[in-house]
Structure formats: C-alpha cells, structure tokens
C-alpha cells in the first residue's frame, strides 16, 4: 500500500488506518468520526489529503489544452483562482471531478481523486498535443485545514497572509518558515484552506498545526461532513455514466468553445433529456440508509441510495439518493429498503447543512 509522508504521524496519533484507493489512510483517530466532524463544524480540524492526485499542465499551449479537455470557460478563470469541474472523455464518460487552479497563462494545477489518478492521467496523456504533464503527487503533500477558525489560525501563523484571500483563490506564502501553496477551498462545507507543500516540510507543518490546536481528522469525518454539505463524491453521486445535469452539476458545463472535446455533447439537446436527479433524504425511522439501498414509493423502486450516514447536526440518519426526477418533490415520503426492513424517509432540499456566513 502507498503511504503519505504523514503516515507515521497518523500512527503516532493512534489512527485507525484503512486502504483507500491503494493508500494507507486514517479513517479516524481515537476521538472518533462524530467528534472529529464536530471539530470541523465548531472550531478547526485538518485532514491529510496527500493521496489526492496533483498534476501540473504547462507549456505555451496550456490554456488551449485546458479549453480542449475541460468544460470550463477558460477565459473566465482568473489568475490565482480555482474552479470545480469535471473531466469527461470522448465517450461522454465522466472520468473525475476535480479542482483546477490557474497558476499562470501557461501553467495550471489539477487536483484529482486518488482513485481516478491513473485513469485521468492516461486520458490526458492520450489527448495531449504539446503540453507538459507533470504528476507532482509523490513530490508534494497536501493538508486540508477546515472550520470556522481555520482562516484565523492560518493568518496567525503566516503574518496575516491570507487576510484578503477570497473564496476559491490561492496564494503562495510562508507559513512560519515554510513555503506553501494555500488555497481557500475545501470539501467539508466549512471555510478553510487547503495547503500544498514540499514533502520535506510536511511533517513539520503538520506538527505546527497540531501545536496550534488544530485537530487531526480522518476520512470518515470528511465523508460525513461532505454528505452534510451535499457535496458529490466520485463513485457515489458521480459515476462514469452519470449525466452531469441529472446529478445537479449542469452549472459546471459552461464552455461554449468549439475546441472542447465534448462541445456537441454539453451544448446539445440529449443531455437535457435525463430522467434522474439527486435527492436529499432525512431518515425518520431508526437506522442508517447506505449506498445501494433501494428507494420506494408505493411499492415501486424509484432509485437507490448513493451515500448515507448519521448526522450529529441533523440528529438523524441522512442520505443522498439518485431517484426518478418526477418523484423528487420536497416533503415526499419514501421507503428505503435497508436489509430486511423498510425505513421511512422524507425528501429534503440539499444541502443538509449550510454554514453561517460571517
């Protein structure tokens, strides 16, 4: 199994380690998933996300290449800005969801899912014309610092360097003596900063953040937080054959460029004819609905659960399901088949949790 540079830190903290996409990663620390999720909602927590793929695209034709492979309007992506988007191949298959950062006119950074890194790279290499594609995953580490106190904590350690950093912007700065890339992005529904650093500094930065009372949180808490925030996870809400509009990501298809590989697909009529949609579900009975459970209305299967968990904020089990569009009405009640039982659930608007803006 692959290990991140911070692996020994996780072991020292007595984390429960699991295989995640071929990486040995902490699912939780002794505090447990629920407490860790509360650290992030109430103060500040951090996640080792070094397993996520980091790929630089550079060269004088980098912008043209990005325009060719991603559905973003490349002219709207400003310097030092980030954007959430989809990687779709020429078979209309979604290979990944990712964040693209514009470093300069001829350099971009893609942060992609660990589980998709190889396939993404294979596709990007296949359609490459003359850009340089540099997988920097192994040379760098990545820590997501998230929570209502995250920005204050990072400001304190960086001489107020991110005081004016906007959402979805990034900056290269010094965290004490360490050079880092700090982006105001995340995957928890809280404000926060995602740090990319040199491997040599990763353990020192981790220790510095621990000293500053930022709590280590595992992938279990991360999954719970992203479900509460209604955020998609590849392999769950997003699959190869998903229709981006059906899964609520139509807004990402902003490109009008004829050079985009899927120009005809995303600007055509067929993509609007999908019959599915994502629904938020609050479980009214006792028990957790989990991925794959069938969803029923009047004894008819109308879809299935894509993610489920128990939310300490909602104080009940919550789930995201993919269901037929015409049944997706707020307040509709459905039955979810969990093992031999049927749990009653109510359709609600996503997200389940929205942070209070300062």
């Amino acid at each position: 199994m692959k290990k991140t540079i911070l692996n020994s830190r996780h072991k020292n903290l007595d984390a429960k380690l699991v295989d995640f996409a071929g990486w040995e990663m902490p699912i939780n620390y002794p505090a447990g998933i629920i407490k860790e999720s509360s650290f992030v909602r109430e103060s500040c927590g951090m996640f080792d996300v070094s397993h996520m793929g980091r790929v630089e695209i550079s060269g004088k034709n980098a912008k043209k290449f990005i325009e060719k492979i991603l559905p973003i309007d490349v002219n709207l992506l400003q310097l030092s800005s980030a954007k959430y988007t989809l990687l779709i191949n020429d078979k209309k298959e979604i290979l990944d969801d990712l964040i693209i950062y514009k470093i300069s006119e001829d350099k971009y950074l893609l942060v992609i899912n660990a589980s998709n890194t190889n396939e993404d790279l294979e596709w990007i290499e296949k359609v490459n014309d003359d850009v340089s594609i540099n997988n920097i995953t192994a040379n760098t580490s990545m820590i997501a610092v998230q929570g209502p106190n995250a920005l204050d904590k990072i400001n304190l350690l960086s001489n107020n360097s991110i005081k004016d950093l906007g959402r979805y912007k990034y900056k290269e700065l010094k965290l004490q003596n360490y050079s880092i890339f700090a982006a105001r992005t995340g995957y928890t529904g809280e404000d926060g900063v995602e740090i990319i650093c040199e491997n040599n500094d990763a353990e020192n930065i981790w220790d510095l953040l621990i000293e500053n009372k930022i709590e280590a949180c595992g992938l279990g808490a991360r999954d719970l937080l992203r479900i509460e925030a209604g955020l998609h996870l590849y392999g769950h809400e997003i699959n190869k054959n998903s229709n981006p509009i059906d899964i609520g990501l139509g807004r990402l298809l902003e490109s009008k460029s004829k050079d985009y590989i899927n120009h005809d697909y995303i600007n055509g009529e067929d993509i609007k004819k999908g019959t599915e949609s994502l629904a938020g579900l609050v479980i009214l009975d006792r028990g957790i609905a989990r991925e794959g459970n069938e969803i029923y209305i009047d004894n008819k299967i109308i879809g299935y659960i894509t993610s489920g968990t128990h939310s300490p904020r909602i104080k009940s089990a919550i789930a995201i399901g993919k269901i037929e569009k015409n049944y997706n009405n707020i307040e509709n009640t459905v039955k979810i088949k969990v093992r031999e039982k049927f749990l009653e659930a109510k359709i609600v608007k996503l997200p389940f949790y929205r942070r209070k803006r300062k």
Binding site: K16, I27, N28, G32, I33, I34, K35, G220, L224, R286, G287, I288, R290, T309, H310, A317, R339
Partner: protein, 125 residues
C-alpha cells in the same frame, strides 16, 4: 490495547456476558466497539422473548457499519437498557458498564462452556 475484564465470559462474536445468580447481562466488548467506531443506533428484541445461545437479538450500527448482535447464552429477555437506546454512545464510552445492552433470565449455565474466558478472548482479537 483494550483491557479485557477477567470476571466476564466472551463469545467469538465479541459479546460479553456477566452472570449474577439467574440473570445474565450482555454487551459488546471494547474491541468490538472500537472496530465499529461511533455507535449511533442500538436495536434489540423485545422483553419476554426466549432466545437460544447465539441467536440474533438485535443490531448495532455505527456511522460506518452495522453488525448483528447474538446472545452468548440461552435465556429470556427480562430487561433492555432503555438509556442506551437513547444514548448509543454509552457503548463507546463504557461498553462494560453503562453500555450493557440486555439482561436475560437463564435456567442453567452449561452454555458458558461454549464461551471464552478473558485470556482466550484476548488471543482471538
């Protein structure tokens, strides 16, 4: 590593049982609680139900997983830890005391021969 009380008997399914006269108190072990993680639901059979050794008597569910519960000894359900049903985190906080799950009335103790003592249990975890 988890401490394993010496005065209890254990099943291979990670339940513990404590015998006081004709009453058996049943819960899950610390090893099981730690493996499951944060417990959010405990559902158990109703009072007066007669169960044979290793029969399923309920389910315990954590944020990450669900697991069946099996009685380590035959008997009739005489008490359910109602406080636990509302506070399932008791299992994580103190699985051998306030995290007990059910009490059974038992007729005989020969089922105990099928169970492990603390040293034997420690070897399988």
């Amino acid at each position: 590593m988890s401490e394993i009380p010496k005065n209890l008997k254990y099943s291979k399914d990670h339940e513990w049982v404590e015998i006081n006269d004709n009453v058996a108190t049943v819960g899950i072990t610390l090893h099981a609680a730690e493996s499951l993680g944060d417990i959010v639901y405990v559902d158990v059979d109703s009072i007066d139900k007669n169960l044979n050794q290793f029969d399923k008597f309920g389910e315990i569910e954590s944020v990450k997983a669900v697991s069946d519960l099996f009685v380590p000894i035959s008997g009739k359900v005489i008490e359910i830890n109602e406080a636990l049903l509302n506070n399932p985190e008791f299992v994580n906080e103190d699985c051998y005391d306030k995290g007990w799950i059910i009490k059974l009335e038992i007729n005989e103790t020969k089922d105990l021969d099928e169970l492990l003592d603390s040293e034997e249990y420690e070897k399988i975890i």
